[in-house]
Amino acid sequence: MIFDAFFLRTALAGLGVAIAAAPLGCFVVWRRMAYFGDATAHAAILGVALSLGFGINIFVGVLAVSLAMAATVSTLSGRGHAMDTLLGVLAHSAIAFGLVAANFLTGVRIDLMAYLFGDINAVSWDDLWVIWGGALAVLALIGWRWNALLTSTLNTDLATASGIDPKREQLVLTLALAVVVAVAIKVVGALLIAAMLIIPAAAARPFASTPERMALVAMGVGAVSALGGLLLAFRFDTSTGATMVCLAAVLFALASLTRGRRLR
């Protein structure tokens, strides 16, 4: 049977990413930050290249670069227009610079594919500790700031009047996003991290009447996608990260079809 130590490890890795990404993904959806997630996730490739180049821990390198990108985008979004264009520029140039930077390093080109598309089979027990540590930290952070985050998502002036600093809450999301990217990169890969943020949240929307419920349902959808995707990937020998996202997308389609009237 496949239920052995190896399967347990990969399953736990997928589950860790799914439950941390889901509630954060809800905020990404509510605040229309999809491109923001993309830019941060793509910057992770540059983080991988720099980590390999300087021989530092991948998680640390990815976290640092993602955080820098998220902070840059967050600062820029406060001023000026044409944000959509600017985010597009940042998201794609981050990945291009990351790939070119990796080309300068010898012997790591094959490894890089694993970071673009994810390689859950390569997740070690040590990685698993980091993934769950990061996931629980993100859950704790979002849980702690939940009401303040929701209020400033509704309206920044309303938040200010209630004594909440919207900039601080934006920073909380920025930090959480960078951590999720860092822990998810080995599991689903930089190109598909944003999908694990957005798709479970979108699939949960028709079934939720409160924000809390939407986050919980999104966690369920994320968990089912991660575990089901893993099983399907083993069965059909497909890429695990992509299979997880495919399953999430199918769940989204089913949710929209059955409860479509409530989507808008």
């Binding site: 959806v29 509510w30 605040r31 229309r32 009401n147 303040a148 929701l150 209020t151 998502t153 509704l154 309206n155 920044t156 002036d157 309303l158 938040a159 200010t160 009047a161 209630s162 909440i164 949240a201 979108a202 929307r205 939720a208 009447s209 409160t210 924000p211 419920r213 939407m214 989507l263 808008r264």
Partner: protein, 272 residues
Amino acid sequence: MSGTPKRLVTLEHIDVTLGHAQVLSHVDFHIDAGEIVTIVGPNGSGKTTLLRSILGALTPSAGRITRAPGLRIGYVPQKLHIDPTLPLTVRRFLSLPRRVSDTDAAQALEQAGVAALSGRQISGLSGGQFQRVLLARALLTDPELLILDEATQGLDQPGSAAFYQKIEEVRRDLGCAVLMVSHELHVVMAASDRVICLNGHVCCHGAPEHVASAPEYRALFGSGTHGALALYRHDHNHRHEEDGAEAQDDCGPGCTHDHTHTHTHVAKESAQ
């Protein structure tokens, strides 16, 4: 005014710049406990900017803002767009950011006149219902200062009249000060203790009758019983150059500065 009411907010000579445009210059303002103060002014005159400065959402480039320590502000924004992807019931909304008991929530909804809406989705409410829910939420903080930014925008005449009646009741019950921006001048004139006319700077201010009888007010906004109506028009289609010849000098008692409106407002509108 009897005794010495507590001063809630004081603005001294504030300038606010948004982008490259100076939206407010040398604005002095204060509001005391229990007062109803209304701000009127043309579009782009900085009304919302002034409110946001008082809230603390904007930092002035010059001048000083003093708030009473621990001041509780209830805020009803001009409009609140809630993304359709965010599911939110009225009851849940009332508990943001601080959880309130079911009893308190029900009482606030009752006070705002929308007791039956508790379980409804925010996205399914009409404009008038949503404004009252916003008011209920603002009341839950037991505010000392209630700030309303054109809270009746989009309501029909009876709807907005009923809304202002509610505000009056709330002030009577809670004793809170009310600061509002409004276009409904007939109501404003009747219900306010003080009126402030804003146009990038404070044009004139004072008690409603006082302002209404000031020669300079009449020159700007019309005279006699049609004053309110003229001011209403002035609000919507404002060109100071047209009125300027009459408006200059001859300041009434409510006027705080020499009155030469030769600037244009087109640039300021885009800034708000």
